[in-house]
């Protein structure tokens, strides 16, 4: 495994800060570290202990940027929420009891942690492979005659024909959209966001609208987010003006269970 600190290829400007954060690469990494040091079984997460430890560590963490800070805070909020769902008064000898929703949330957290643990292990495995390969030297550069000195053999003209056909077909498929920009409807986007939030409880706005920075896409996404907030299906946080917007799943919609609103 390489040293825990970031190697030279990470983002240059954030390096110093990252080092001060310690060796954590995000909230899951911190959480996993806490579980490992306390020998916590990832299949039976003690909510109270882990929440208290996480919050205690959070104070010592210096964030590399607002977005990362947001990610840590979303995790903190989730843990606090989860802790608030514990049914029985604290009794360390008892196993913790949660209601159905809390149970599901905890299992999801456990599953994410296990997945992250696997990723980390695989990352470490890759690091050892990389180190092994660093002991091998190949030939520097190619010993073959350079491309421009090699006469090309006949290429089939059908390759060109196929390529141009493909392009024309693509254009014909896309043309209606090009002429009359037809961004996905707000409703469609809302459905998509909710379905994404089934797999994870928080999303970054930038990663939703980030693939293609078309203004219309961003606008539709924003409208969809606002509408979902209004409907109480999601929560959003933006820690600073023009900062990253964090989108979280709102598990219980106030419309269905109005009393929950006070609790959270």
């Amino acid at each position: 495994m390489t040293a825990d600190g970031p190697a030279p290829d990470t983002l240059a400007p954030s390096r110093d800060l990252t080092l001060r954060v310690g060796t954590f690469e995000g909230p899951l990494d911190l959480l996993l570290h806490l579980c490992r040091t306390s020998e916590i079984d990832l299949a039976h997460l003690p909510v109270r202990t882990i929440t208290d430890q996480y919050l205690a560590h959070l104070e010592a963490v210096e964030f590399r940027d607002l977005e990362t800070a947001g990610a840590y805070l979303v995790m903190a909020a989730t843990l606090i929420y989860l802790k608030s769902k514990l049914l029985v008064p604290p009794d360390p000898s008892e196993t913790e009891l949660l209601d159905e929703e809390g149970l599901a949330l905890r299992q999801e957290l456990e599953a994410r942690l296990r997945e992250y643990a696997r990723v980390k292990t695989l990352g470490a495995w890759l690091a050892t492979r990389e180190a092994e390969q660093a002991l091998l030297w190949g030939r520097p550069g190619s010993g073959l005659p350079p491309a421009e000195e090699i006469p090309l053999e006949d290429l089939s003209v059908h390759l060109l024909e196929r390529a141009v056909r493909r392009l024309i077909e693509d254009q014909q498929r896309l043309r209606p959209r090009e002429v009359e920009p037809n961004p996905p409807s707000v409703l469609e986007r809302m459905t998509e966001i909710l379905s994404l939030l089934r797999d994870t409880w928080s999303l970054l706005f930038s990663s939703l609208a980030g693939g293609e920075r078309r203004r219309s896409e961003v606008v539709v996404t924003l409208l969809a987010v606002l509408e979902l907030v209004r409907l109480g299906r999601i929560r959003t946080q933006q820690t600073e003006l023009f900062g990253e917007i964090v989108i979280e799943r709102q598990t219980a919609s106030p419309a269905e269970e109005p009393t929950r609103a006070d609790a959270s």
């Binding site: 990610a71 643990a117 990723v119 990389e130 030297w137 030939r139």
Partner: protein
């Protein structure tokens, strides 16, 4: 007159990317890939028998001629300035995710790592360890990422199948209660340390 094995040796020597069996077959006008493989085996046996400085590696869908690991100390001295920048932990973890989930989009990578992975992905693209495999049919139509041959070479893998099986490490017991939360919740890790991955795979 050079023997076929000599020709193969020359091809390996001159090639800066892994040499595929199909390419060998083509250049040497062999009947099939099996014949190319047999010739490769012959040459490899010759290299193993002589205890010279070089050895043949099967990697990235082809074969490479490289120096033996034992010679690294002297080569380091030769190339004083040669410092291959090692990959950072975020880079390795991101590669791990793409390696076993490919093709995978940035939001998915973000979700697994719990942090924004844009910069790391860009960096890995630039290093040609990843490439864009298309776009996902999802909000924002995000790019899909997959690993490259460069990735295989950098980690000495024949193909992505050489990656250790992480999924298979999990024991999936019957879960009585929650059915709503699908596969994620249904997977049960044997224990806290349960993510051990056997090398070699």
């Amino acid at each position: 007159m050079p023997t076929p094995a000599d020709v193969l040796e020359a091809l390996l020597f001159a090639s800066d990317t892994p040499l595929e069996l199909e390419r060998i077959r083509e250049v040497l006008e062999l009947p099939d890939a099996r014949a190319a493989r047999a010739l490769m085996d012959e040459l490899r046996a010759r290299y193993e028998a002589s205890s010279g400085a070089l050895t043949i590696l099967e990697v990235g869908g082809g074969f490479r001629l490289v120096t033996r690991p034992a010679l690294a100390p002297w080569l380091v001295r030769l190339a004083r300035a040669r410092t291959r920048a090692r990959l950072s932990r975020p880079a390795l973890e991101t590669l791990a995710i793409v390696g076993y989930k490919q093709p995978v989009s940035r939001p998915e990578v973000d979700a697994i790592r719990g942090v924004n992975s844009e910069a790391v992905l860009d960096n890995l693209l630039e290093r040609r360890l990843l490439r864009i495999a298309g776009r996902k049919d999802a909000p924002g139509r995000p790019f899909l990422y997959e690993t490259t041959r460069e990735f295989l070479v950098a980690f000495g893998l024949r193909d992505v199948g050489d990656l250790p099986k992480v999924e298979g490490e999990l024991i999936v017991p019957e879960l009585a209660s929650v059915t709503d939360h699908g596969e994620a919740a249904a997977q049960q890790d044997p224990g806290a340390g349960g993510a051990d991955v056997p090398a070699g795979g």
